[in-house]
Amino acid sequence: MEPVLTRNVGIDGSQTLGVYQARGGYLALRKALGLTPDALVNLVKASGLRGRGGAGFPTGLKWSFMPKDPTPERPNYLVCNADESEPGTFKDRLLIENDPHMLLEGTLIAAYALRAERAFIYIRGEYAYGAKTLIDALREARAAGYVGRDVLGSGWSCEIVIHRGAGAYICGEETALMDSLEGGRGNPRLKPPFPAAHGVYGRPTTINNVETLCCVPFIVERGADWFKAIGPDEKNTGPKLYCLSGHVRRPGVYEAPMGLPLAELIDGFGGGMLRPGRALKAVIPGGSSTPVLRAEECAGLRMDFDALAKAGSMLGSAGCIVMDEGTDMVAVAERVAHFYAHESCGQCTPCREGTGWIEKVIARIRRGGGRPEDLELLDEIAQGMQGTTICPLADAAAMPCRAFVAKFRDEFEHYIERGRPLAAAASGTGA
């Protein structure tokens, strides 16, 4: 497949306006400004684009929820969610650092379609280089008339604010992100009201992921049919960035059509297993919150929203983590549990207590103090967390916990009985 989202990656000066324009950049914005906002929303609807942040909600439909009559007192806002923090996921960083103008152009087109005159890009605090790259690009875009008052003489004005987070995974959840953007702790809000009705500063707001917004200029430029033709079916369209990490020879970010066979990602792009002679043991397909799959469940599996849901997991952010047969799955489960315990905002009791409890029980099992009833206890704790909190972080901790125990029960039981890992899983989790 011809690279689309990554077409400028690796080109000298790809972050600069000059190179971006020389390669056709900002032509889509010019074209978009010649259309009505409603026509743009319909175009994105027709493309079948689904949000690339994890939930896979249809982007055009989300845009259509925004009011069509904003006023200076009650403006519409667009927020770009660049708070990429899901373990296993690093695709947005690649786009931000290598092609910031593509993100700015996508943001501008989306803002125009949403009748918003102010957009915020909320970038995770750790991406200091990414934030600097975006700020430099914004300066260039403003000087060239793409950002600010009366964009390209269209009569429409748009300001973009780059806002840095400060190290809280929960701020990737859209309502926590809004609280954070307003100068608060990142505590998620109950929905409804949904952001399109009551978002940032109580104003109608749409929140889109970086990769989602980067698809938009191409849809405008090349059309909905072109976008739809990439991908296995009507519900899974467009190019997709896949993140590959763990025990593979060539980890990295790879672009391919939506629906890429998992085997092609691991063996083709990834070059197969890192350590010669070791077979695939398990894959976390979509970032650490998505349920782990055993190697035999991966046969013939495609990486798209529906195929992974059918397999009992999720595409999520397409952060594929690969583990070979030397991996101690109890150790990995403990590490995943630690992450969610650390990142719970503490607002809801089932999450605050449950994430820490899961971590403690798995850690006890690993230290050799496991009890036979611990596996049922883990399942019970996880069940008590699912669907009982304001935001999905509790589910993000519960789902992998249940999947690890269910699919690698023999390894947990061995730890409980013998206080050490199964021999086959003891040969080193770290490569």
Binding site: Y129, R164, L244
Partner: protein
């Protein structure tokens, strides 16, 4: 540093930001529909200026934005990147989350700890390095990753750690980024 030490330290070194800081703060506040929105950027600015967010800095920001110092402190302490006490001259943040774990970050941590004679969470006696373990840095394809101040050093193995720490000790700053092993995208 205990809360008591921290208060004492602040009394001994009162913070008053100068006019340049105030000018930059005004610029930031103007970007937001409401002044409160500028709280996080102002905390970053204060930390860049002083190396950490002191109680006096929180008071200054609270006054500028019309918030209570307690509210500002509640925000500072929620986020892991705001430090409420000074760190060493170089802050070393090692990612220990799952992808980096699978690529050997535990060995890298042990090596750094041994080399610096400290454990994660501590600062070297000469005040040059503070080492902390952090959650996912978004460098899973080029893990293990060690963030030095604002820069990512990726594909870290023991040799690269040695070269990096030795260079920092000499006052040099090696070029950040991925190792020679591979590019991040192909």
């Amino acid at each position: 540093m205990s809360a008591e030490d921290r208060r004492a330290g602040n009394e001994a070194r009162p913070e008053t930001f100068g006019p340049e800081f105030a000018r930059r703060a005004d610029e930031i506040v103007a970007r937001y529909p409401q002044p409160r929105g500028a709280l996080m950027p102002l905390l970053h600015l204060a930390q860049d200026e002083r190396g950490y967010v002191s109680l006096d800095a929180e008071r200054w920001i609270a006054e500028r934005l019309g918030l209570t110092p307690a509210y500002v402190h509640g925000v500072t302490s929620f986020y892991t990147m705001y430090r409420t006490a000074p760190a060493g001259r170089h802050l070393l943040q090692l990612c220990t989350t799952v992808s980096c774990m699978l690529r050997g970050c535990d060995r890298v941590r042990e090596h750094i700890e041994e080399k610096l004679g400290i454990e994660a969470g501590e600062t070297t006696a000469d005040g040059l390095f503070t080492l902390v373990c952090v959650e996912c840095l978004g460098s899973c394809g080029t893990g293990p990753v060690l963030q030095v101040d604002d820069d990512f050093y990726e594909d870290m193995d023991l040799e690269r750690v040695d070269a990096l720490l030795d260079a920092l000790r000499r006052g040099e700053r090696p070029v950040p980024g991925a190792g020679p092993r591979r590019a991040i995208v192909e």
